[in-house]
C-alpha cells in the first residue's frame, strides 16, 4: 500500500515533466531507491504497472529501479560501513554514535521518452 501511494506521486511528477517538455508518451521511468528507504522495488513495479497503465501517457511505460546501497558514517572511528550488514553499531569500534549517509533515497532520476 505504501508503494501505491508513492507511485501516485511519481505519476504526478512524471506527467508534469512530460507536459512541460511536450512529450506525448513516456517509455520508461528510472528511479533511485535507497536500500533502507522502506520502499520494496518489486512492490513498486507491481503498483507501477497497475497505475501507470490507467494513464494514456504512461501505458506500457517501464519502471527501472537503481538500488542505492546504504552506507552509515561512524563518528567514533570516523569511517563508513555498509548499513544493512551491521545496523546502527559500528563493526570496527562498536560505537553507536552513527548516522546514515545514504540509502534513504526515493527519487525519480530520469525519464526516457
Amino acid at each position: 500500500m505504501h508503494e501505491l501511494g508513492i507511485v501516485f506521486y511519481i505519476i504526478r511528477d512524471v506527467k508534469q515533466v512530460a507536459e512541460e517538455n511536450h512529450v506525448e508518451h513516456v517509455a520508461s521511468v528510472v528511479m533511485d531507491i535507497g536500500e533502507v528507504s522502506t520502499v520494496m522495488p518489486h512492490l513498486l513495479s507491481d503498483c507501477w504497472r497497475w497505475a501507470a497503465d490507467k494513464e494514456p501517457m504512461l501505458q506500457g511505460c517501464e519502471s527501472e529501479v537503481n538500488t542505492i546501497p546504504a552506507v552509515t558514517w561512524c563518528d567514533g572511528c570516523k569511517s563508513e560501513y555498509p548499513t544493512v550488514a551491521h545496523g546502527r553499531t559500528c563493526p570496527r569500534c562498536g560505537s553507536e554514535n552513527t548516522w546514515l549517509l545514504r540509502g534513504n533515497e526515493v527519487e525519480i532520476k530520469e525519464i526516457k521518452v
Partner: protein, 228 residues
C-alpha cells in the same frame, strides 16, 4: 533538468525526491495554521494501540480549556468519527484515504477545510494505523505524536526507527497490563531516546486514566506556545 539523445530515446533528467512536493505543501499548510492560531497534532500508531480511546479520555478532560476538533483518517468506515462525536461532543469528521496507507498534506488540507477552524484551537488528526508509511509523509502538522502500547513490545523503536525519530511526543499506552507482558519501560525509553533524544515520553493508561492529565497538559502548553 538536462536532456540528451541516446538510442533514439531522449532522456530527461529529473533527479527529484518523490516527497519534495508533499514537503513543500506541508510547510505551506503549517505556516497558514500558525497564522490562524490553529495547532494541528498528527497522532500516529499501529492499529489497536488505543488511539481513539486515548483521545476520548483526553478530550473529555481538555474541552473546557481548549476548543478541540478531530479528523479521523481510515481506509474505510466512519466508526471512529461517530464514536468520537457521541462520546466527546466535539466536532469530528472522517477522512477516507481511498486505500492509501497514510495521509499527505493535500488530504489533510481538504479535511481541515471541512472544519470550523475559526472556532478551533486544537485539531487532532488520527492518522491511519500504521508504523511505517505515515512517518514518511509530512501532513503539515504543528507536532507529531505516537502511541506505542505495551503489548507491542519495548523493541518497536528499534524496528520502526523513522516513526520514532519524527515524533515530538511518544505515549506509552496500556501501562495497566505491564505486569502481564515482558515489557521493560526503562529499556523502551532508552530505545526511543537513542533514535530521538528530543522526544517527550509519557506513560499512560487510557483505561485507568494514568498519565492522561499529563498528556492533556502537554497539549495545553503546546497550543499556548503555538499561538504566541
Amino acid at each position: 533538468m538536462t536532456e540528451c539523445i541516446m538510442d533514439e530515446l531522449r532522456i530527461i533528467e529529473i533527479k527529484k525526491s518523490v516527497f519534495a512536493d508533499n514537503d513543500r505543501d506541508a510547510n505551506l499548510l503549517r505556516e497558514e495554521l500558525k497564522q490562524q492560531g490553529v495547532f494541528l497534532l498528527n497522532l500516529m500508531s499501529a492499529p489497536g494501540s488505543g488511539k481513539t480511546t486515548t483521545l476520548i479520555q483526553t478530550i473529555n478532560r481538555l474541552k473546557e480549556r481548549l476548543r478541540v476538533a478531530v479528523m479521523e483518517a481510515d481506509i474505510d468506515s466512519d466508526v471512529d468519527a461517530r464514536k468520537m462525536k457521541e462520546t466527546t461532543g466535539v466536532e469530528s469528521i472522517q477522512l477516507h484515504t481511498g486505500g492509501m496507507c497514510h495521509l499527505d498534506a493535500e488530504m489533510t488540507r481538504q479535511g481541515l477545510a471541512a472544519l470550523s477552524l475559526e472556532k478551533t484551537d486544537l485539531v487532532i488528526l488520527e492518522n491511519v494505523g500504521n508504523l511505517v508509511c505515515p512517518a514518511e509523509f509530512d501532513t503539515g502538522s504543528s507536532a507529531n505524536a505516537m502511541i506505542l502500547s505495551v503489548p507491542e513490545g519495548d523493541d518497536k523503536p528499534l524496528k520502526y526507527p523513522l516513526m520514532f525519530s519524527v515524533c515530538d511526543l511518544v505515549l506509552i499506552n496500556k501501562t495497566d497490563v505491564m505486569p502481564y507482558f515482558d515489557f521493560d519501560l526503562e529499556r523502551c525509553k532508552q530505545n526511543i531516546l537513542m533514535r530521538n533524544p528530543k522526544a517527550t515520553i509519557i506513560p499512560i493508561s487510557a483505561k485507568t486514566g494514568e498519565g492522561i492529565d499529563d498528556f492533556a497538559q502537554w497539549l495545553v502548553n503546546e497550543v499556548q506556545n503555538w499561538k504566541k
